[in-house]
Symmetry: C2
Subunit: 360 residues, 2 copies
């Protein structure tokens, strides 16, 4: 087995501790990655605090993982030592069901579904301790099929969040038919929203950002948005009515979607990526029928799509806007608190290789 140093939640408080975990020895199909950077996603916090189900601790989270290949299994063909490699939200799936065959491993309908990068149960021989541990860690061993190849120039902290935030924009854009020249609205200017602007602009769309914060207007325009609508300004919202082909809705708290549906052109599509609890979307069917609107949920993206997204971002020089934090329990605790308060522009990334204490 391979010992890895990591930052892990010590309990349901989500507070970090520095500890060690075991990774499996590198099997014939495995890629062993020394982690350079690991992004901080809000899902880490929900999972780490047990808000999405009870977990066992210590639990090392993180699913925006970027690093360098240090060892490959005997049958690995896609990677060699020294390559830049990424791991996103999944580390395994059946690869045999209808969904996996279509490249949608995130919807794997095999007996176990997909294996999440952290906090998923799995066989002891693959995941020592019986549970997966994520990227707030010095090393990770992942089967080749779930490792993403990145060009060397992308071995930078600002590329790490692409592995989750980037694909969560790119996948629904491609899947639901966003095309160059279309009007794209982005609601919720956070980690996902700011990627949606950049990827949308690179796809040739005219991007309108809808935000409650007049303070974000300049920021959004700086990222390539053509227009910013302040949603608390009734006149601005009225002027923007029926103007958008797509609305990318990344708001992750209870909200009435009707005001954003009103911005869609007839037969427009709202892409939903922010988890909102049952009962919190009070738009009746008339809202969808009368104008032929579509409401499409989307969950990250498949592996093939993730590779495509990384290649697209490399080609268009798209990176995230980040704040780098050292790999100490104190620094990550603060980053989590600030993430919860949406006080981050726009993603924290842990500077793992440079700052994680190797001697715990």
């Amino acid at each position: 087995m391979i010992k890895a140093t990591c930052l892990a939640c010590k309990d349901g408080s989500g507070k970090m501790m520095c500890t060690t975990i075991n990774r499996r020895a590198v099997g014939p199909k495995d890629v062993h990655i020394k982690v350079s950077y690991s992004g901080i996603c809000h899902s880490d916090i929900h999972t780490g605090k047990g808000e999405w189900g009870k977990k066992q601790y210590p639990l090392c989270v993180g699913h925006e993982i970027l690093g360098i290949v240090v060892e490959v299994g005997s049958t690995v063909t896609k990677f060699k030592v020294g390559d830049t490699a990424g791991v996103g939200c999944m580390v395994d799936a059946c690869l045999e069901c209808e969904e996996c065959k279509e490249g949608d491993e995130q919807f794997c309908s095999g007996p176990r579904g997909f294996t999440g990068t952290y906090g998923s149960n799995g066989p002891e021989e693959l995941y020592p301790g019986g549970m997966t541990h994520g990227g707030y860690s010095s090393n990770i061993v992942v089967r080749e099929e779930f490792v993403i190849a990145l060009p060397q120039k992308m071995n930078v902290a600002a590329a790490a969040p692409l592995l989750c935030a980037g694909i969560t924009c790119y996948s629904p854009f491609v899947k639901h038919g966003l095309k160059a020249g279309m009007q794209l609205g982005v609601v919720g200017l956070g980690g996902l929203g700011h990627m949606a602007i950049k990827i949308g602009v690179a796809m040739g769309c005219v991007v309108t950002v809808i935000t409650t914060s007049p303070s974000k207007v300049e920021l959004a325009l700086g990222m390539g948005a053509s227009k910013v609508v302040v949603s608390t300004d009734e006149a601005q919202m009225k002027a923007a009515a029926k103007s958008l082909h797509f609305v990318y809705n990344s708001i992750a708290f209870d909200h009435d979607i009707q005001m954003y549906l009103d911005l869609l052109k007839n037969q427009g599509t709202m892409l939903l990526v922010g988890g909102v609890p049952k009962g919190a979307m009070p738009a009746g069917s008339f809202a969808l029928i009368g104008r032929g609107l579509r409401l499409c949920g989307s969950l990250i993206g498949g592996i093939r799509e993730t590779q495509e997204m990384v290649d697209f971002c490399a080609k268009h020089d798209i990176l995230c806007d980040i704040e780098l934090v050292p790999a100490t329990p104190e620094a990550v605790d603060v980053a989590w608190e600030r993430t919860i308060k949406s006080d981050v522009k726009f993603r924290f990334v842990i500077d793992t290789a440079a700052t994680l204490n190797p001697t715990v």
Copy 2:
């Protein structure tokens, strides 16, 4: 002007009276149709009783109109006297906006939107009295672009409801990618639902009907459904979980859509065509995101699509299951009452030409 005999709602009670209305004289682009049959759609009742907005009376409703061309304008090319012709839910639109150019006149974004076949305001010179009157009538004059051509064999009462019920199934099926070999679920076995079975089967789909009424099992199988799931039977619903690519949801009263979403395969699509009030669909965004589901509203269909649907139904010998009623106020009053109670298999059609009193 052309005088037409008709059955019209005398007031907001929706009760019928026999009266006369005026149609405009046949203009160069107009087609004058002698109505053979007119289907009774639930929308007639909502509109006639003022449930969808206040109306002026007397109001002649009906938008499933089938008849014979008795006169054409000087520039009409698609029709000649003696042809079988149909009129659906629209009699005009701008034909210049983005939506009209795409053939989606039902979403016309021109200054006036589309003109509904009945109860829409319009210029006095086109619609004497300033409002459109529908198909419960001896004659109607409609501009050529909004008249559907039918083969002579379809001048039968059972074809009339295709003009609304038929297109309300066909349009979303085509638009949202229903394909041969797919699993189609139909929820709500009424006028729309029974057409969805027939059209779905003709498109090569395997159709499952989901119903609360065990009494409808035989009926559904007789129409070509492969399977019927009784929704009050938990075991049956469980066995059908995640089995359908599409669910055609034609329920028009408050309901929790979650139990039907559960029947969709990952990344499946629910087509919504039944108007349900705001707040009545308590499925949160997690329901859509976790499995990548789509919720698509759909409103009738465009004229080109309606023509395509009629041609498709003619080719596959698809007609509605109907009960014929004479064109008397008493008979139509009873038919409306029974429609409200869903006591009809599956559509009432008024036997206009044969029974409407020509001398009021």
